[in-house]
């Protein structure tokens, strides 16, 4: 039924909040406590199927999958947040400059941007990691650069549409400087869409980090991340499929939760959408 989600019970928003809340809770808890040590090897119980002792089973070294997935959440979420902050800050700055100043600034920035955009993001990230060696810092940097061009594009288009609005022209008529108009009228009105972009991006980054780790260039073993857990589970897919359940479900739940949350944000932050 049309309009139901507006007047009725917002199931999606609630689920989004619950999933993201659970994720953050897991990250917090895993800092101090996991059922077993995420690196603790138990050679007596390699590849144990799920049981009351090990809810999601153990891997080939007898490490508890649940504990590793919890610890992995910290790394995945940490990298997600750091990357989103970097990409959005830099992207918003460049996009706003290009969109508001137009002219030469715009042309130069966008030419470089389009060149970057022409590379597949993953390839760009792989290249960066190859140059800067492994580690969390390198991954954040690589992913930020990979996602930067699309952020710049989106922010620029938002700013371009806002700067043509009459209230920005009204600001000009008042005698306000360009910088003031940009900060006072353009940026605040662009924020909702940037916030939505950020939540969306977070999901993508978590996925990409998993992919990088899966390819073996992400988080080096033995530290757990969802991606390298999945990668490590690959040889045992036929015999010990449970190894993939916990990290796979974590990636999926995170993406779903963040996407639902971003839909909710979009709905709420649009001016005039109150009541």
């Amino acid at each position: 039924m049309p309009g139901w989600s507006k007047t009725g019970f917002p199931v999606q928003s609630l689920l989004g909040f619950v999933l993201v809340g659970l994720l953050l809770l897991t990250v917090g808890v895993a800092q101090f406590w996991t059922p077993y040590g995420p690196l603790a090897i138990d050679l007596n119980a390699p590849l144990a199927p799920p049981s009351w002792r090990h809810w999601f089973g153990t891997d080939e070294f007898g490490r508890d999958v649940l504990s590793r997935a919890m610890a992995g959440a910290r790394i995945s979420v940490g990298i997600g947040c750091a990357t989103v902050s970097c990409a959005i800050t830099a992207g918003a700055l460049l996009g706003t400059l290009a969109g508001f100043l137009r002219g030469w600034t715009d042309r130069v920035l966008m030419t470089i941007n389009d060149a970057l955009l022409a590379f597949p993001g993953m390839l760009l990230a792989l290249g960066f990691i190859a140059v800067f060696a492994g580690g969390e810092g390198a991954i954040v940097l690589a992913l930020s650069v990979a996602y930067l061009p699309s952020v710049v594009r989106v922010v620029r288009s938002v700013v371009l549409s806002i700067r043509e609005r009459e209230y920005v022209e009204a600001s000009r008529v008042m005698g306000n400087s360009s910088a003031y108009s940009m900060l006072r009228h353009v940026v605040p009105n662009a924020l909702p869409q940037v916030a939505v972009l950020a939540t969306n991006l977070f999901g993508w980054v978590v996925l990409s980090e998993s992919a990088l780790s899966f390819l073996g260039v992400g988080i080096p073993a033995p530290a757990p991340s969802w991606g390298n857990m999945l990668a490590a589970a690959r040889p045992y897919l036929a015999s010990a499929a449970w190894l993939t359940i916990a990290p796979g479900a974590c990636v999926m739940a995170t993406l779903l939760g963040v996407n639902w949350l971003s839909d909710t944000l979009l709905e709420r932050l649009r001016p005039g959408s109150r009541s």
Partner: protein, 544 residues
């Protein structure tokens, strides 16, 4: 009368879902429309007039439902018709013309395909006959070069032409009832007149009953036989159009009639015209170029010279495309000019001197047509009004705040300081825009169609406010409008523009009483006023 009346609406009530309780949209709405009759439905936004039309077509927006009464179209109750038969009635027997033809025409289809679509659905004609029918109808509605038009797309036409095409597509199907929902509100005066004349002529030829929905009472006098006045979903007055306009019974109708623009008595001008405030000499501004017409320059403003004295309201009138908006923007230096001089107290708006430019910005202001678009949606009313005071250096922060508060009070918005623009009505938003324009005590204000988007009663209130503030603070104004009635109400002098040039200029009374240029006469002629209807002599207070 042998056949059943075209339309009978018998105590129809509509309600919309509200918070908790259902909110009535229309209450006990009754109406009878005979073949060939033209009835006008008048009311302000939110009075339920469009809802009444949608109820006839059984096309109510989601949530709104009919909770009482019956609607009989040619004797049949449409509410009980199965969907397939209902679709055969819509379009074929009841035609609808809406306000904005750009929205109702599909931009991705040629005109022929859109016209032909209805014919194919509702009438059994061969392709050849369909083409001939479309061709003839386009010629009938006065579209030049019908064959070319048929293969063109909607964006290639002006607003007036699009509305004609829309009308053609509706009348092609020979409906029994034509519902015209604010058909000319988006058009300028000349087009408005032509389109309405056309509707009336076509309806008469084919014996079509017309329901004209409008907020413009003056149009009613010229075109309608009967009128129904709606206020907040209730019929407050109904009767012969002339009688209602000449002696309105209900208080609301009286307010509506009273808010029709009337000429203000000429003001006592300060005796000797001192120096000029603003001088514009031979201004030329290029029109935005289409890429395919690169070689010929089109001038949006083509050699305009004018002078504005301090504390004078100079109105600029003309149809759409006459260059009046461009003129206002060029004077404020918002768009570049190709040639000519502009000086406001000796300062050119495009000066490179920073200090002079700042002085120019402080002395000038602009009021936009659409207050909603011109107010930052994320700022509160008080902040919006106070923003221009940033550049009034001699005030402290506290003084700025209290000055903004005073200004709000002055425009009648006390207590709304903490609201956001979306929480205000259209009239209130325009008051905010006016407050913002006046708060820093500018010397010159360009007002670009500031009341065109407002309902009649609100319009006259906002105009009165503008005039009061103008007297109080003594700023001069370039008042751009396409409504001559507004000019009479507010301006001292008037400039008539056509295709970028000034065709006539002078004191309002002189120009309106003794128009010299043919274009001015056309504009005046096309402007509906109450006196036009009252051919009975005793009420006639015509301009002559």
């Amino acid at each position: 009368m042998s056949a059943a009346p075209v339309l009978v609406m018998d105590r129809v009530s509509l309600e919309a879902p509200g918070a908790g309780l259902a909110r009535p949209v229309l209450q006990d709405f009754s109406l009878l429309l005979e073949r060939g009759e033209l009835i006008a439905l008048v009311g302000e936004s939110g009075s339920g007039k469009s809802m009444a039309a949608r109820a006839i077509l059984q096309l109510l927006p989601p949530g709104v439902r009919q909770c009482g009464g019956r609607i009989l179209f040619a004797g049949t109750d449409l509410a009980v018709l199965p969907p397939a038969q209902l679709r055969a009635v819509r379009g074929a027997q009841i035609g609808l013309v809406m306000q904005e033809p750009m929205v109702s025409l599909n931009p991705a289809m040629t005109i022929y395909r859109q016209l032909e679509e209805g014919l194919r659905l509702h009438r059994e004609l061969s392709p050849g006959e369909r083409y001939t029918a479309c061709h003839e109808m386009l010629a009938r509605v006065g579209i030049p070069d019908p064959p070319r038009c048929l293969s063109a797309f909607p964006h290639e036409f002006s607003g007036g032409q699009r509305q004609r095409i829309m009308l053609a597509s509706v009348m092609l199907l020979r409906p029994k009832l034509l519902i015209a929902d604010e058909p000319t509100t988006a058009l300028d005066t000349l087009n408005q007149r032509e389109v309405l004349d056309l509707i009336v002529a076509l309806a008469r030829e084919a014996g079509v009953a017309v329901m004209l929905i409008t907020h413009n009472l003056a149009l009613v006098g010229r075109y309608a036989q009967r009128v129904v006045v709606l206020e907040k979903g209730r019929i407050v007055e109904t009767g012969a159009a002339r009688a209602v306009l000449e002696s309105p019974q209900h208080e609301y109708t009286r307010t509506l009639v009273a808010s029709l623009p009337r000429r203000a008595p000429p003001r006592d001008r300060f005796s000797a015209p001192t120096r000029e405030l603003l001088t514009v000499t031979d201004l030329r501004v290029k029109a935005p170029q289409r890429k395919d017409a690169a070689h010929s320059t089109v001038w949006a403003v083509d050699g305009v010279s004018l002078k504005v004295r301090p504390a004078e309201i100079l109105a600029v009138v003309g149809g759409s495309g006459s260059g009046k908006t461009t003129l206002g923007r060029a004077i404020l230096g918002l768009i570049p000019r190709a040639a000519g001089e502009i000086e406001l107290e000796g300062i050119d708006p495009l000066t490179t001197d920073r200090r002079q430019r700042a002085a120019f910005r402080r002395a000038t202001q602009l009021i936009f047509q659409d207050p909603y678009a011109s107010l930052d949606p994320r700022m509160r009313v008080l902040d919006i009004v106070g923003e221009p005071l940033r550049h009034v250096r001699e005030l402290t922060t506290g003084e700025r705040r209290s000055r903004a508060e005073e200004m709000l009070e002055e425009v009648g918005l006390r207590g709304l300081a903490a609201r956001f623009p979306r929480e205000l009505s259209g009239g209130q938003r325009q008051r905010v825009a006016i407050a913002r324009a006046v708060v820093a005590r500018p010397k010159f204000v360009v007002a670009d169609e500031p009341v065109s988007a407002l309902d009649a009663t609100i319009q006259s209130q906002v105009l009165a406010l503008f005039r009061r503030l103008q007297r109080q603070y003594g700023f001069a104004s370039l008042f751009i409008t396409h409504e001559l009635g507004v000019v009479e109400q507010i301006a001292d002098r008037v400039i008539v523009m056509q295709r970028g040039r000034i065709v006539e200029e002078g004191a309002v009374a002189a120009v309106f009483d003794h128009p010299q240029a043919a274009y001015t006469r056309e504009l005046l002629e096309a402007t509906p006023t109450i006196p036009v209807v009252s051919s009975s002599t005793q009420v006639c207070v015509d301009v002559d």
